[in-house]
């Protein structure tokens, strides 16, 4: 029976929600699946994963995996992947880095950022957005083993299904490259806000916010009063107003929240690729001709420096009224 292996994402011992999207991928393929957890002190994460209907939860718990280094993880994942038809990792920065390496080690074909999967006659067909989401391809992988990364926004986080999967130890494979790549540090940007890829509401800013200060004083109060995640256009990232991991777009994060508010974003193709599947889109921009208005459900033409504080106050009032 063909089986899927899901590679879980764990950070500092905590299971990341990206993993739940890979579980949904496996469930929508309708094939049985196992889960592999690689890391250090991952007992709790592995325990949590036992409730999702996996045949087996395999655990490689080793001090070598304390921090994610692709060269160190890939040999262990590739070893555990033997005998599976599909290996899936969610396309976070972890999955994007790891999945192609595993494919290379297995001599397997790879499909990245998969947005859908169908199985017919035992053959898997994947849906892949290309050209900044302007084309949707249907494709197959012809090698014996297949490796895919799943787009988080297209596979809703799985809920537990009950049951208790068996636990198994996966063997830790020595990494020949370990001596040539040294992990120095992880400079974490701590934020109380929800993660961009998982938030129900995303408020994004563009270059029209004009500065780091513009983001801080104008956009962030709205972000926080809405309980939203903050995003940004590539232009705002290029201008250095916010870090790149807030970038929504073709080469940043792809999001599909219930509500997406685009502030001072003109709507370049690149940006639209990352947010067009949002349920409700609001655009605030002073240029009435901005392309963002062509896909916004609600467009407000006006000065963001006036409109955004007004909106912040209005939402604050609604929240206060409960």
């Amino acid at each position: 029976m063909s089986k899927i292996l899901i590679v879980a994402e764990v950070a500092a011992g905590k299971l990341k929600r990206t993993t739940h999207s890979s579980i949904t991928f496996a469930r929508s393929a309708g094939l049985p699946f196992d889960v592999l957890v690689v890391g250090q002190h991952v007992g709790t994460a592995a325990e949590e994963l036992r409730g999702f209907g996996a045949g087996v939860v395999k655990v490689a718990d080793d001090a070598a995996f304390a921090n994610y280094v692709g060269e160190v993880y890939a040999p262990t994942v590739a070893e555990a992947a033997k005998g599976y038809v599909v290996v899936v990792v969610t396309a976070s920065s972890f999955g994007k880095d790891l999945a192609p390496r595993v494919a290379a080690r297995l001599g397997a074909g790879f499909a990245s950022d998969v947005a859908g999967v169908e199985v017919a006659g035992g053959v898997l067909t994947y849906k892949r957005p290309m050209y900044a989401g302007n084309a949707i391809a249907m494709m197959q992988i012809t090698s014996e083993t297949q490796v895919v990364s799943a787009r988080q926004s297209e596979f809703e986080a799985a809920a537990p299904s009950g049951g208790l999967s068996a636990l198994e130890t996966a063997s830790t494979v020595a990494a020949p490259l370990a001596g040539r790549v040294e992990f120095l540090s992880f400079d974490e940007v701590k934020s109380a806000r929800p993660e961009l890829a998982e938030a129900k509401v995303v408020v994004s800013g563009g270059r029209s916010l004009k500065s780091v200060e513009g983001f801080k004083t104008v956009l962030e109060p709205l972000v926080d009063v809405m309980g939203a995640a903050m995003g940004a256009s590539r232009a705002a990232v290029d201008a250095g107003y916010v870090p790149n991991d807030l970038q929504v777009g073709q080469t940043g994060k792809v999001v599909a929240p219930k509500l997406y508010v685009a502030v001072g974003i003109s709507g370049a193709i690149q940006h639209i690729a990352g947010m067009k599947n949002s349920k409700v889109i609001v655009a605030i921009n002073k240029d009435a001709e901005a392309p963002i208005f062509q896909l916004a459900d609600y467009g407000l033409v006006g000065d963001l420096f006036k409109a955004v504080p007004e909106l912040t106050e209005a939402v604050k009032k609604i929240r206060a009224e409960g």
């Binding site: 494919a103 040539r180 193709i269």
Partner: protein, 278 residues
């Protein structure tokens, strides 16, 4: 120090919404879209040049070399030539039909190019903006068994040129890795910020302009005499069988535009009563 930058010719990414789907979904038509170098590859060229020169005096470090490698039609020479005008030294063009390539094959072919060229560093864009795959650098690193870093937003070459510290822009922050050369690095947007690349030759006080450099006319003229060697993909002795099979293409479902609201009050009212998201 020798650097290899693979460069892909892509249809103008700023007009990607103008692509068409050919007969019965058989292929993507990019007719009418200007072929441009993949922007991330252009950043890889810029970042590599910053490793190989004194940014202040604009003098290249003696003995250092930057080679561009491309796979595609004869016309891709134009895009290689642009990289030569930026300051790369020579180009390699492996003639092939774009439709007969995938990331896995490119990575395997590049591994052969690396065997021939023996660079100390391969610097790639993190992804091509047409296929949007983000895979070649990772696969290449595994095939070569070289250390690597993806999504680079900073690079600091040690004074002895034996190691490079790379800042990787990942979910939630920046990871720093020290790689022992030879190595593979894939670059992200911020690699062309004014102070992203440090080589201990360019003075620490020097600030680059943001982005990839402009190519002044004398450089464009000079680039015309720089060599571009053409060869067939087959000459690399690589198995050209693809592991991916594209069945069909379609345009995404179009999203309908909505309404314009006159002020914040109307927006709030619509979001509450109509969309019910507030």
């Amino acid at each position: 120090m020798k650097i290899l930058v693979p460069l892909k010719r892509t249809a103008d990414p700023d007009n990607a919404n103008k692509i068409k789907i050919g007969a019965g979904g058989a292929k993507i038509e990019t007719t009418g879209l200007e072929p441009k170098a993949n922007p991330f590859d252009e950043y890889a060229v810029e970042a590599s040049l910053r490793l190989l020169e004194n940014g202040q005096t604009k003098v290249r470090i003696a003995g250092d070399k930057l080679t561009i490698a491309s796979f595609g039609p004869k016309e891709a020479a134009t895009n290689i030539r642009q990289a030569l005008a930026m300051g790369a030294d020579d180009g390699l063009l492996f003639l092939s039909d774009d439709n007969a390539l995938d990331g896995d094959l490119i990575a395997r072919a590049l591994a052969k190019v690396v065997e021939q060229q023996m660079p100390d560093l391969v610097v790639l864009g993190k992804q091509a903006v047409d296929g949007d795959s983000n895979q070649v650098g990772q696969i290449l690193a595994e095939l070569l068994q070289w250390p690597s870093a993806t999504f680079a937003m900073s690079m600091e070459l040690s004074a002895d040129k034996k190691t490079v510290i790379v800042g990787r822009e990942v979910d939630g922050g920046v990871i720093k890795l020290r790689l022992t050369l030879p190595a593979v690095i894939t670059v992200d947007l911020r690699i062309v910020a004014p102070k992203s690349v440090v080589n201990h030759v360019t003075p620490a006080t020097f600030t680059y302009p943001d982005g990839a450099r402009f190519t002044p006319l004398p450089m464009i003229i000079k680039a015309k005499s720089k060599p571009i060697v053409e060869a067939s993909l087959a000459s690399l002795g690589v198995d050209t069988a693809l592991k991916s099979k594209y069945l069909s293409f379609a345009l995404p479902p179009a999203r309908k535009g909505g309404v314009k609201v006159k002020d914040v009050a109307e927006l709030v009212q619509k979001l509450r009563t109509e969309a019910k998201v507030l």
